[in-house]
């Protein structure tokens, strides 16, 4: 079976900034993959290279076994995408915009109405683009990405800036598309989006892949674990948390006097934690126990949060 996307050691620099620094990766046909990382991680540069809008300084990209320099037209026919910031002509209606983009593809079996129906824009068909809300514009961008019934769909932050309702609507559309064995590459900094939609998650930071795998694989890779988060009134004692059984790591924030302890298992760790608090007479302002999330995982790998 041909891989949907093969990336081989690609690099891209902008003046002094290395946006993508030697990434190699393979995405199989039909996979839903999320590229997750904080702002400036290189997500958009990477997907724009996959989309043939930018080209790598070094390395090679193959889309369904084809390269951009020799098969640009063929790749464009099988790929659909929405850019991080897609703008359309304000004075065209939704329907006219669809017609315009339909005309760019020679043979498409789908009908405009069918796609508008799928993305929930049928009622806005006659509206001018300038009168659409942010969510409706994103849906139009998605509708346009679907015109050629793409084998590979690349969406760059399709739900950024949308309210939770609109975001969920887009997720439902994408889940519907999964049935058609489309390959999806999605960039996001919402971990929930990646968790909900994707089979595989790729963590990017500073232009490199930190880790990749399914949600459970990634969490297991980091041997899952749980977290105890707490905030103290003052920091006047040195506590040796490391000596406690089940302790893995602590992320200490000096400024907020807050700690985040990564532990094997909360149930066995908690009594010991509370005992230390009591024995040392620590004044705890807030306290919570939680399961590890993607954000925690990213934090454990980079020391920074996804939202940074």
């Amino acid at each position: 079976m041909i891989n949907a996307i093969e990336i081989n050691n690609i690099k891209k620099k902008f003046k002094d900034l290395t946006a993508v620094d030697g990434i190699s990766h393979t995405i199989k046909e039909g996979e839903y993959v999320a590229l997750l990382g904080p702002n400036g991680a290189g997500k958009t540069t990477l997907v724009e290279m996959l989309e043939g809008i930018q080209f790598p300084d070094e390395g090679e990209i193959q889309i369904l076994g084809m390269k951009w320099d020799s098969h640009e037209n063929e790749i464009r026919k099988v790929m659909g995408f929405s850019l991080q910031e897609t703008k359309f002509i304000d004075k065209l209606t939704v329907d006219e915009t669809m017609k315009l983009f339909f005309s760019f593809y020679s043979s498409v079996s789908k009908k405009s109405d069918e796609i508008l129906d799928l993305v929930g824009l049928s009622l806005k068909k006659k509206s001018y683009v300038e009168n659409l809300s942010g969510g409706q514009r994103q849906k139009l961008a998605l509708a346009i990405a679907l015109i050629n019934n793409p084998k590979i769909l690349i969406l760059d932050e399709p739900t950024t800036g949308l309210d939770p309702g609109a975001r969920r609507e887009i997720w439902n559309i994408l889940q519907e598309l999964k049935k058609q064995s489309t390959t999806l590459i999605l960039t996001t900094h919402y971990m929930e989006e990646a968790e909900q939609l994707c089979d595989r998650i790729v963590f990017l930071d500073k232009g490199k892949i930190l880790a990749s795998g399914s949600l459970s694989e990634l969490l297991e890779l980091n041997s899952l674990g749980e977290y105890v988060n707490f905030v103290l009134l003052k920091n006047d004692k040195i506590i040796n948390w490391e000596s406690l059984p089940g302790f893995r790591n602590i992320y200490w924030n000096e400024k907020d006097i807050s700690g985040k302890i990564h532990v094997d298992d909360i149930i066995s760790f908690l009594p010991l934690f509370l005992k230390i608090i009591k024995d040392n007479n620590l004044n705890v302002l807030s306290f919570e126990c939680k399961k590890m999330t993607l954000d925690d995982l990213f934090l454990s790998m980079t020391g920074r949060s996804l939202g940074d």
Binding site: G52, I53, Q54, R76, K77, L83, F88, I89, F104, S106
Partner: protein, 341 residues
Amino acid sequence: MFIQLILMELKSFYRNPGIIFWAFGFPLIMAGALGAAFSSKKESIRKIGIIGENSIEIVNKYKSIPIPENSYSTFEFISLSKEEAIIKVKRGEIQLYVESSEETNFYFDPSNSEGYQSYLLLERLEGKFEKKPSKIIQINTKGTRYIDFLIPGLLALGIMNSCVWGSGWTLIEFRIKKLMRRMIATPLPKWIFLSSHIVTRFILSGLEFFFLIIFSYLIFDVEIQGSILALFLIFISGNFTFSGIAILMSSRASNTQVANGLINLVTFPMTISSGVFFSYHNFPESAEKIIQYFPLTLLADSIRSIYNEGSGITDIFIPILILNFLGTIFFFTGLKIYKWD
């Protein structure tokens, strides 16, 4: 607060080198270039046609008249047949011609300010030499009036502005607003995207062209004396050249200030020097040699010769060839260096 707002604007201005160039550099360069072009012409040379059997003798007579020291004008007198004089008036090469026998007849269109000024200066000069009765003979046969000179120039100017501002500006705006980015990332061939702009311009400037032709015919009785087919071909060629220029100009510009400067850089010198409103034959000879090959000059001269001299395709074949050649070069260079995102 007020100062911070001013600082904000000044900072966003000077931190953009492109804008600084177009705001300060470009006007200075233009002033320098135009200043050099005009100041090299120490005094204006007025070409005057002399007709009649004794024209050579009259030319010599005029030449012998000493020019007053405080005069800013000098004259160049040319002996011509009446037919030659009429053609030169139609082309704007001369604004006035003189027939001198028992009395001196000045032939010109009084609505043409250049012609009228030449008449006043010449009459004063002649008065110093020998007083003869003189008469103004208004030339107002079709093709010789100032309006006959002006309308073809305006038609040419309309094509230039429509293409350069219309197409060029739209394309730059497409880039700035990131509208182009999404469109060209489809199987749509890039040359089709750019060509569609040229064809749109054909349609829009075609309508403008048509309305101006009808308007000038109905209101000013300005009539096309030559071939309509030739007019159509030169219209297409002019459109192609200026659309090519628009594409080349829009190939890299990524903000409106730079776009504005670039468009002015192209259109402004041609608007003032290509013989739209007044003849470029008044420019110094060295400048004239260059100006006559400007796309707008080629276009205006060709339209004028179709309108006023009854020219056909063969008469304007060379300008058509040059305009299409230039258009092709501009289009493909633009396509080659075009910045798509």
